[in-house]
């Protein structure tokens, strides 16, 4: 069914928190509510639920990949091109260790970056109701709900003393 989105803007963060509370009382779930701020607030400042993520898995996977690539390159090149240099063994481990280390770290970092993007759901192509004032200190409370509960949402936002309320004109389409 058709969904509609409303965005309440609050100069005062406490008011925004109140709005969230109103919405919760209006049986809006965390999925419906989105809190947009230009500044990171301590977790749970708006009474939002704890955000779980699996970011810490990514570096380990990356490290494993990086390590194996490093091993492949260093061992492989030495064995496939067996030249004696300075009486060192054909498969000289200490130098391999150094390069494999770099490979491991590179892999870990790359995968972590991917993990961050994935876990924070970026990049985000679908546009929704938004306002430039959010990066100016306003806190935005955005509700997405079915068309018929839309007015309830608007009221909840207004009650908390919204400085401004924006919403998409017709279902689906967005205005920024």
């Amino acid at each position: 069914m058709a969904k509609r989105t409303a965005l309440g803007l609050y100069k005062d963060a406490h008011a925004a928190a109140a709005a969230v509370e109103n919405l919760k009382q209006g049986r809006f779930t965390d999925q419906d509510i989105d809190i947009l701020s230009g500044t990171p607030y301590p977790e749970g400042a708006f009474g939002e639920h704890h955000i779980g993520h699996k970011l810490f898995v990514f570096p380990f996977i990356g490290a494993a990949c990086g390590f194996s690539v490093g091993l492949l390159l260093t061992a492989g090149t030495q064995l496939s091109y067996p030249m004696v240099t300075g009486g060192k063994p054909i498969l000289s481990v200490p130098p391999m260790a150094i390069i494999m280390y770099e490979g491991t770290m590179l892999g870990a970092i790359l995968f972590t970056i991917l993990g961050i993007l994935f876990e924070s759901r970026l990049p985000r192509v679908r546009k929704s109701v938004y306002d430039a004032r959010i990066t100016e200190g306003y806190v935005g409370i955005r509700v997405a709900c079915d068309a018929q509960r839309f007015d309830a949402a608007l009221n909840a936002l207004k009650q908390a003393g919204a400085d401004d309320v924006k919403f998409d004109t017709q279902p689906g389409a967005a205005t920024a």
Partner: protein
């Protein structure tokens, strides 16, 4: 071919410092012509050169000659540091330089304790009249690459090809680098130590023998024989 181990013996007692070897090497290996500027800038090419050290106090000062060429080390410090394998150890105990691979990081030269690697700072040039004097068996090096004494590898190969054709092993003394050939005092002896009855084997066992900078553990394949002079110091001044 069978693994060989080429060794050169330098008898410091016989060396007169005449530098015939230097000239011979220059001619054989297409070394660029060293002009005065080259020496002043420390950029001269001398794959083999005679280092002269004065010893003793006036009036009884003595000149000591130390013929120095690539020591063809067994554990050559120059080899592992080359990022592109431009220098490595072959199965004849030679430390070979691959001109085409070399990109000229000059790391090998920094890591050569004997300072016997030479760098082409510029494109070497010869007068038109001398172009025809160049040795066809030896690559003419371009600029930006490293070069050094090869124990006249081109001569070694020619003779071994010949021996192969005639279906025999190399005879001792058959191969001799330009410097050895040119030395009038017979101070330089060259040979393959895997060939037990060769002349070098006997000389290597001489009680006067020593290697340069032994403590570095590079295992040079150039063996020096001490000067038979009670107050002579050994090679590593």
């Amino acid at each position: 071919m069978a693994d060989r181990k080429w060794v050169m013996v330098v008898d410091a007692d016989r060396c007169t410092g005449c530098e015939a070897c230097v000239v011979a090497c220059q001619a054989e290996n297409n070394l660029p012509i060293n002009e005065e500027e080259g020496f002043l800038k420390h950029r001269a090419f001398e794959w083999i050169h005679i280092e002269r050290y004065w010893e003793g106090e006036f009036p009884n000062v003595k000149a000591r000659f130390l013929p120095l060429m690539c020591q063809q080390c067994t554990n050559a410090p120059c080899e592992p540091v080359c990022p592109v394998y431009a220098t490595y150890h072959n199965n004849e105990g030679l430390n070979v330089q691959v001109y085409n691979r070399c990109v000229g990081t000059r790391y090998c030269a920094n890591n050569c304790p004997y300072q016997v690697r030479f760098f082409n700072f510029f494109e070497p040039v010869w007068p038109e009249s001398m172009k025809s004097y160049l040795n066809p068996d030896v690559t003419v090096r371009s600029r930006g690459i490293m070069e050094k004494c090869t124990f006249c590898v081109q001569r070694i190969h020619r003779k071994s090809r010949l021996a192969k054709k005639e279906g025999r092993d190399l005879r001792d003394g058959e191969v001799s680098p330009a410097c050895v050939q040119a030395c009038p005092a017979d101070a330089l002896v060259f040979g393959d130590v895997t060939n037990k009855d060769s002349r070098v084997v006997k000389l290597v066992e001489d009680k006067r023998n020593f290697q340069l900078l032994e403590h570095l553990g590079t295992g040079p394949n150039v063996i020096y024989l001490k000067k038979v002079d009670p107050n002579a110091r050994n090679g590593s001044h």
